[in-house]
Subunit: 322 residues, 2 copies
């Protein structure tokens, strides 16, 4: 009976290529410090050669890290569209545009057979998100299985799968360079600060990802199941003065820190600086996330809203075995 | 009996000059946003002229506010020493050095009879400090009475009095320009972010300060009592790599967010990125504050330590009445 079930699972498992080359990147935003210090730690330990998978560890934006700012000239994590990666650059191009092409040469090229199998890019947010894997696909079984593994193994950190429904050509972030990829985003942590519990959660998340990859590569069959996927629907900006564009309200105390708690039509959304409550005017209850992220004031985003659905994922195994 | 007690109190109250000219400053650090938005709100409402006290509201560092950074060239809130205020400046001097002399001309000159009677400078910190009045004196009865008033009236915010034992000539911060003065420091709030509860606490703190001043000026006698004063003893830096000076540990999870909770010799202080606990090696139990403040990484301060003592303050009344 046990054997029957096992061979049934084995026959029905999706066979996928091994995940042989992995990139772990941090400092893509230079002031998101858990990733910066995690990459520094990994680079110190690099020489021992004991990793059972080929891992390249990259400090993505060393100039921004040096200055402890998000970016020097333009947001590096918006430079990985097909258009920007293929644009001609010169000495006067923004540093991050040049750097994105260097990273694409090192870890990609994006969309090619030479690209790393999995790219994990480490990020922090001031929002109370817990750990999110942010991806461009809701049917990447590798990413979804890694997410399921983290959800099962991480005791004290909520783990969620966030999906940006954007075609790969337009996908703008570093993780889109890998064959599989995600941003591992953990909050809340102020930018330019490292908090020990956030650093430890990131360390644990990366280690669990590596464990999963090693088990997968060595032939372990991972049973399918269900994963909640949060697909981004829209962004909402702060209320702003119509002339000066200066914000006139902060996120409402009832909403602040309630990332991934369902927001209903009519719920308080902002509290203006003069004391007025502004409510969510949408018709559909949605899940807010990136609530009051510090770096998004300049992008006109007070929070993002997502629709949640359960995605069934198949059992998977690596195709090199059996 | 009641009358006797009252006249006894009245006779023994210290008579002090009215607090006629008040300055409320924000944006001294351009990315500490509760103060920035509070000053903007006050400037919008300025025209109505209903304030019963002469209040000047100042955006201290407009260029840094514009860029949403702490400072442009040098930390403005270190430019108010006697030496810096009297140094010759030219067009090539750092912007903040020029601006400090402008502010000193507007609100001071520091130490002169023309200086504002009270200068309240609004700040935020990433540390979990609650509301602190930070001063250079442990015997400024006006500041101590305002602190007592806030402690009595603020329901949901802990209010503390912090004393930096530095002579006035060397006092480096904007609040030292007023005859009385303090930084009103509220946390935790990430820099470049405004959180509604922190904004509201600051708004309430400023309003309660104004209420106290109006009552004081109009002849109310404020009874004496005791106030806990935290006097800064020393700063402690992060553990750093001896060659690169890069930090090698974060504040320990047991200490993070425990501002003003007594730290005993041997208590965990840092957790290194490789997992080692480092302990407080001092001989004396002290009160930590500014724990893991984001802007102090560059200053080599992971936390400050203070000694607490109770200071008896006399009853006070304004000297213009009776």
């Amino acid at each position: 009976m046990q054997m029957d079930r096992h061979s049934h699972l084995w026959r029905n498992a999706v066979a996928m290529p091994t995940v042989s080359r992995v990139a772990v990147c941090g400092g893509t935003h230079g002031n998101e410090l858990a990733g910066v210090y995690l990459v520094r730690e990994r680079l110190k330990r690099r020489a021992d050669g004991t990793e059972p998978v080929s891992v390249v560890t990259v400090m993505s934006n060393p100039r921004a890290v040096q200055l402890c700012v998000r970016y020097v000239e333009t947001d590096l994590n918006r430079c990985f569209t097909r258009a920007t990666l293929s644009a001609p650059v010169s000495e006067t191009s923004p540093y991050e545009m040049i750097r994105s092409q260097e990273l694409n040469a090192l870890l990609g090229p994006k969309g090619s057979a030479q690209a790393v199998d999995l790219l994990c890019d480490l990020h922090n947010t001031t929002a109370n998100t817990g750990l999110c894997l942010i991806t461009y696909s809701d049917c990447d079984w590798i990413c979804l299985h890694i997410c399921k593994h983290l959800q099962r193994e991480m005791a004290s950190t909520p783990v969620r799968y966030v999906h940006f429904d954007i075609p790969l050509n337009e996908a703008y972030s570093l993780d889109s360079v890998g064959k599989h990829g995600f941003a591992m985003e953990i909050g809340p942590q102020p930018h330019s600060v490292v908090r020990s519990v956030i650093f430890s959660a990131m360390q644990e998340g990366v280690q669990l990802m590596m464990d999963w990859i090693c088990q997968f590569n060595s032939g372990t069959l991972f049973e399918g199941g269900w994963v909640d996927v949060y697909t981004m629907v829209k962004n909402i900006d702060y209320p702003r003065d119509s002339e000066t564009h200066v914000i006139t309200a902060a996120v409402h105390p009832n909403l602040q820190d309630r990332d991934f708690c369902l927001l209903h039509p009519g719920d308080p959304m902002f509290l203006s600086f003069s004391g007025e409550t502004l409510r969510y005017k949408g018709k559909e209850a949605l899940y807010p996330f990136f609530i009051n992220e510090g770096a998004y004031y300049e992008k006109g985003i007070a929070l993002s809203l997502a629709r949640k659905r359960r995605v069934e994922i198949p059992s998977v195994r690596s195709e090199t075995l059996r």
